[in-house]
Symmetry: C2
Subunit: 313 residues, 2 copies
Amino acid sequence: MITLQDIQEAHDRIRPYIHRTPVFTNETINKLTGASIYFKCENFQKIGAFKARGGLNAVLQIIERQEANSLTTHSSGNHAQALAYAAKKVGLPAYIVMPRTAPQVKQDAVRSYGAQIIECDPTLEAREEGVRQVMASKGAVLVHPFDNDRVITGQATAAKELIEDLDTVLDAMVAPVGGGGLLSGSCLAAHYFSPSTSVFGAEPEGAADAIYSLKSGVVEKPSFINTIADGLLTTLSERTLAIIHAHVKDIYLVSDQEITQAMKMIWERMKIIVEPSAAVALAAVIKNKEFFAGQKVGIILSGGNVDLAKLPF
Amino acid sequence: MITLQDIQEAHDRIRPYIHRTPVFTNETINKLTGASIYFKCENFQKIGAFKARGGLNAVLQIIERQEANSLTTHSSGNHAQALAYAAKKVGLPAYIVMPRTAPQVKQDAVRSYGAQIIECDPTLEAREEGVRQVMASKGAVLVHPFDNDRVITGQATAAKELIEDLDTVLDAMVAPVGGGGLLSGSCLAAHYFSPSTSVFGAEPEGAADAIYSLKSGVVEKPSFINTIADGLLTTLSERTLAIIHAHVKDIYLVSDQEITQAMKMIWERMKIIVEPSAAVALAAVIKNKEFFAGQKVGIILSGGNVDLAKLPF
């Protein structure tokens, strides 16, 4: 069980390597929603996403306890960069198993931190087999993107900072949910540091599984996967579901059109760049504005890594 | 002559209506340039650009001294929104003369602040004639976008904040130059509040006039106008030239390609949205990186109003 002290220690551990990202507000968006929204800008975080927190917390603990001399994961997204960044900071080699179809820009980002890419076929089986091979041949330890207590504890520090940096108490907090690392970390942070704050997940209709897992209490698979929010394609693990089941009040679904509109609103009104997955939480607040009206709502803007050549607007 | 006290009073006057915008730094851009760059993020300012400062300072003084009961200007850009915003804050009607070719999105923005748009032909003569008519028929007072001491004094507060908010002294400050309101305000702020800081202008090759005016000492016209930096198309006035001549060390020219590359770098690396005109200063620092290497350089990111449907990348 992840404790309050775990989150505090994680924060102290990673603090030298991360940005304390700012909290932004926007009058126009507040008027439109009727809520007072506080945006935690993890798009400004190292590697452009909150994932730097969890990756660093895991890797720094691996170093502290001398558990391994190299690191591995499979990811084509922000966690790949996060692990590569963390590995570079501590001076360990990292082997990132990536599907050979991963965009060149993402491969370049991982290489820019000095990590080695192991190419594989673009299936979950091939990715997991690739990681097994690296673990066997290199003695590398796996840092899973979300099914890992240290990673979840690191992610919790974003919501912890948001809570600490406000001079008011949030009525609600909304975070996007894919594998559930950010959402489970966020609801644990609220549980320990702001217990009167209700925590909600926001999920794309085109990768809807957490909402059903929360209702049934077992890990459900999505009926189909097709969404612009490419950071939220994964399914909960039993670990993240258990935390979310205990501490998350509800999960809201939003369509790709609603995600795109929310993303455009953030770009145009707040003048900041967020990726589609990061706009899912605002889309959920806009869609449920009768519920959130009059509330103080924290939103975790999870990341800002987008391909400017492929914008949805 | 604009005094230190004028700038301090302007700052006190407008402070309730503006954001004290943050100063951002970026490791990657520092590595690339060899300089330590401090970005003053006026893209986060009210109406999305520094122009809110000058407009407010002028309008608030007009109110204090009861000089007029309505306001006018001609602009198709950020100053139109700035004057409309300032007029709304003080409750005066504003008549904005805009060419009928101005983008709908800019007309909508002006109307959203309650200002009235007077359409005219897209020539400078028609715009000036439109303003003359409004002044005659409505008794409105003109708030010129840059040829106005109060406007210049307001713009100076951006550089003043940048100087105040750093715990170090800048070696250099770079601001884009069109009509020269921002650059003349910035160099006055440095002159009074950070006299060891050298101030530079950055100008598009496709609207090159300030660089020649600075050399000749008289207001020169550009030989042609064709640039993506649509906020910098105007020519200095004698008023702005006099200030720039006294306090600006040099002006650098950059091409549209260099502007676009700098803009893309800011979007991708800093995760913030800036308009092409705002990227001109970074483009100048990159182009002259041998000169700026090792220096602490302040850059005024002037604004973030772009049409997302018409990006140059």
